[in-house]
């Protein structure tokens, strides 16, 4: 243990502590009843109780916002994964200029900041006289999620030996069977990481949803928090909700990573 090692450790831990301070702050103050953050009025589990029994002010608003967030993220990332995987296979088999054009177009949504994606899609829906709501939000989320699926599936395609697919055909598999039994299993890791990435980006999105949700009062968690904060008083039950979400994500990510490192150790 030399001093440089100690310094490195300390540095990493300081950055981590700073990164986690606000999250810990939310978690700590989820165990008190006070309305505003940072106001400690003694230990209490009431906010958790309210969250699960639904006995809070404007409870339907928060619950439907959570539901919308999850449903939109699920629909958008499933469609993005299918569309992106098919597209990746197509782009992989393209050549020359067509391939460059597709790669260029695929990069645009990733380079564009959220607000540009949001405003441009808002103008599209206005221009086409499409009334904005659930469908437009889902379409917008598919737009910014799909490029990441393409990006995750593409490397799996270049690792795949094309002869295996041909061999399956030669051995009497129909193209559908070959697709299901050869191509999809080989692409699955890329599809899964594309799906997870899409899902989390959709969950976290604020700007794009904000511009494409229309005026029918559709709220996701992000837009709900934004409206709430602008009104001045944050719904106190958001604190336990965020704490629970954080713990869930922490556990899932740790499991995924421990599994991955075990797998790579085996290999």
């Amino acid at each position: 243990m030399n001093t440089r090692k100690v310094f490195a450790r300390i540095y990493i831990w300081i950055v981590l502590v700073v990164l986690y301070a606000p999250i810990l702050f939310i978690a700590v103050f989820s165990f008190t009843e006070a309305k505003s953050l940072g106001n400690w009025t003694g230990f209490s589990m009431n906010l958790y109780k309210n969250l699960f029994t639904g006995s809070m002010q404007n409870s339907s608003g928060l619950i439907s916002a959570v539901e919308n967030t999850l449903v939109i993220a699920l629909i958008a990332s499933v469609i993005a994964t299918l569309l992106g995987t098919v597209a990746a296979i197509g782009i992989f088999n393209l050549k020359g200029r067509k391939k460059n054009v597709m790669n260029f177009l695929n990069n645009i949504p990733m380079i564009n900041p959220d607000i540009i994606t949001g405003v441009s899609l808002f103008l599209l829906f206005v221009f086409l006289h499409i009334s904005q709501g659930y469908t437009t939000v889902v379409l917008a989320h598919i737009t910014f999620c799909t490029p990441y699926v393409v990006l995750n599936v593409m490397p799996k395609l270049s690792q795949l030996n094309p002869n295996i697919y041909e061999a399956a055909l030669d051995l009497g598999a129909t193209p559908m069977q070959a697709l299901r039994k050869v191509l999809v299993p080989a692409l699955r890791p890329g599809m899964i990481s594309g799906f997870i990435l899409s899902f989390t980006m959709s969950l976290d999105d604020f700007a794009v949803t904000f511009f494409t949700r229309g005026t029918i009062g559709l709220d996701t968690l992000s837009t709900y928090i934004y409206a709430d904060a602008r009104k001045g008083g944050l719904t106190p039950e958001l604190k336990p909700l965020m704490t629970i979400l954080f713990l869930l994500i922490l556990v899932v990510l740790l499991i995924i990573n421990i599994r991955q490192s075990k797998n790579s150790n085996k290999k």
């Binding site: 606000p22 702050f25 969950l203």
Partner: protein, 257 residues
């Protein structure tokens, strides 16, 4: 095999409809007045409006400062994480990415609340710190990725040939890791210019960034001026992307997990 390339077609149509056409519509709306006639007045308005111009200048300034701050804090962190001698498990890396999974608005509100509790007045300082906090993982991850994949034998060779550790870093590691820094810059700079909610929360509405005025115009049905402001932003994105070139294309976000 030839038929398989047709599979790109649905996505091509999708991209044209939901990416290309909307971007063209920004251009169309920016060059129209409210009744649909061609005009350059919206663009002219931006360049003659002192408020918009100073907001724009401030946004660029904050974005540059934030990007530099993220590099200064993030590069050493990424370097330590990628160094096998200091960091053995992948779990620490996960810990750095994890905060991104918590709703950004909620984190930002909590950050602002922490500042208030510590008695720090909300203003430009808190804006910078809060932004840096929000975007740091986006800087650390691409740099870590590049450093982690880097062939260590280059650094060893330089050492064998008599370079001091400082020289090895300056002449080998740093230049080789530039693609990661560049994609980090891309992921921090433009989003900083364009955020709206985050800057409002961190300064208690005292400081407006460019994203906020775009949002205000669009929400007040001044679509044409909003589109003109978006167009200006698109031009800047175009320039920065062009300057960056294709160097870091392979190192872009990829799989964050």
């Amino acid at each position: 095999m030839n038929k398989r390339s047709n599979w790109a077609l649905p996505y091509f149509i999708f991209l044209v409809l939901f990416v290309v056409v909307p971007l063209l519509l920004i251009l169309v709306y920016a060059l129209q007045d409210a009744s649909g006639h061609f005009t350059l007045a919206n663009i002219g308005k931006f360049f003659s409006d002192g408020d918009s111009l100073s907001t724009f200048a401030l946004s660029i300034e904050v974005a540059i400062e934030n990007t530099i701050l993220c590099i200064l804090i993030g590069y050493p962190a990424a370097w330590i994480l990628a160094n096998k001698e200091y960091n053995k498990g992948a779990v620490t890396v996960v810990l750095f990415i994890l905060p991104m999974w918590i709703n950004a608005l909620m984190r930002t509100l909590a950050t602002a609340e922490l500042f208030t509790m510590a008695g720090i007045q909300l203003g430009k300082g808190t804006l910078l710190f809060g932004m840096c906090y929000d975007y740091l993982p986006f800087m650390i991850y691409p740099i870590y990725n590049v450093l982690n994949k880097m062939d260590k034998s280059y650094a060893e060779a330089a050492q064998d040939l008599g370079a001091t550790p400082g020289e090895v870093f300056r002449k080998v590691t740093l230049p080789l890791s530039m693609p990661g820094v560049l994609s980090g810059v891309m992921m921090v700079f433009m989003p900083t210019v364009s955020t709206f909610a985050i800057s409002e929360f961190l300064t208690n509405n005292k400081i407006k960034l460019f994203g906020t005025i775009i949002q205000e115009n669009i929400n007040n049905s001044m679509w044409n001026y909003g589109a003109a402001l978006s167009l200006i932003m698109l031009v800047i994105i175009g320039i920065t992307t062009f300057l960056q070139g294709n160097e870091s294309e392979e190192n872009s976000v990829g799989g964050i997990i």
